[in-house]
């Protein structure tokens, strides 16, 4: 079974809020070998004008991917995860993610396209704070290899 083109335009229900903790930010920053104190020291972050430590620009992927799981696990979508490779990733930060944020993710399937035996699925995850103010827009393209290709 291939990817169902009918999923284009589908909007999934908003996720439960993800609470961004200081220690998660520190752990993620360490994992990308960043020693910037703005990720670990609230005083250093405040000196730059932030209320608390801020996330590295790509930490948003972690929250987005939790939401994208709804698509991967949607039986109607027909996506075999073993055949998925990551094609593109893009972040638009309306403001930096700050420790203490409680972010709600809403996933939309923007487009489903094909090129030969490959299917490209464009997704968009809008991360908003609990007041509904936009924080980060995460767009991603996943490439699903066709069944004929091993």
């Amino acid at each position: 079974m291939g990817v169902n083109p009918q999923i284009a335009g589908r909007v999934y229900p908003p996720s439960p809020a993800y609470e961004v903790g200081r220690e998660k930010i520190r752990e993620f920053a360490t994992a990308i070998n960043s020693s910037d104190p703005v990720h670990s020291d609230p005083e250093a972050a405040r000196a730059l004008g932030y209320p608390d430590v801020i996330a590295p620009p790509t930490l948003a992927v972690l929250i987005a991917q939790l939401s994208e799981g709804q698509l991967i696990n949607d039986p109607e979508a027909g996506i075999d995860y073993a055949r998925v490779v990551h094609g593109e990733e893009r972040f638009v930060h309306h403001r930096p993610i700050v420790a203490g944020d409680r972010l709600v993710a809403t996933l939309t399937v923007d487009k489903v396209g094909t090129a030969g035996k490959l299917t490209m699925v464009n997704t968009r995850v809008e991360l908003a704070d609990e007041k509904g103010e936009p924080v980060t827009t995460v767009t991603s393209v996943i490439v699903v290899r066709g069944a004929e290709e091993a």
Binding site: E27, F28, T30, A31, I32, N33, S34, D36, V38, H39, L48, Y50, I54, P56, P57, T58, V61, L62, Q65, L66, V85, H86, G87, E88, E89, R90, F91, V92, H93, P96, T139, A150
Partner: protein
């Protein structure tokens, strides 16, 4: 000293920097990011699906090139947009050196109204470009 909008010009080059990526970096990234795809830590499975070796997470490479930009600008929160295409996978050998990612950048545009600059990034590993259309838009004071 951190760059400012007035001191940055289109065509400026950012000093190239090399970053090492070893198996333990991938294990740690897997744990921190929650991306436990076996091709990033299990050589037996990676080889069985036709890969030369364990492969770095694309998002680890993207994060590394992002660090290159944030270390230059002096504030990771100044990155307002950041996008890449993943063009080539990076095999990471099981030794102490691992693989090397060379990151360089050039200012490709400035926006006088938003007071932002666009950095066009190049990331090379093993002689191959590993990111395509990699651009970061940074807000400058």
């Amino acid at each position: 000293m951190s760059p400012t909008f007035d001191t940055v010009a289109v065509g400026d080059e950012l000093s190239p920097t090399s970053y090492q990526v070893r198996r333990r970096d991938l294990i740690r990234y897997a744990g921190a990011s929650g991306d436990f795809n076996v091709i990033h830590w299990n050589e037996r499975v990676a080889v069985s699906v036709g890969l030369p070796s364990v492969i770095a997470h694309g998002m680890f490479t993207m994060a590394t090139a992002g660090r290159f930009v944030s270390d230059w600008v002096g504030d990771p929160g100044a990155i307002v947009e950041y996008g890449v295409r993943f063009t080539t996978m990076i095999p990471v050998p099981d030794d102490d050196e691992g693989a090397t990612i060379e990151v360089s950048g050039r200012i490709s545009a400035k926006d006088d109204t938003a007071r932002t600059a666009t950095v066009l990034l190049t990331a090379v590993s093993g002689g191959q470009k590993v990111l395509g259309k990699a651009t970061a838009v940074v807000r400058l004071s």
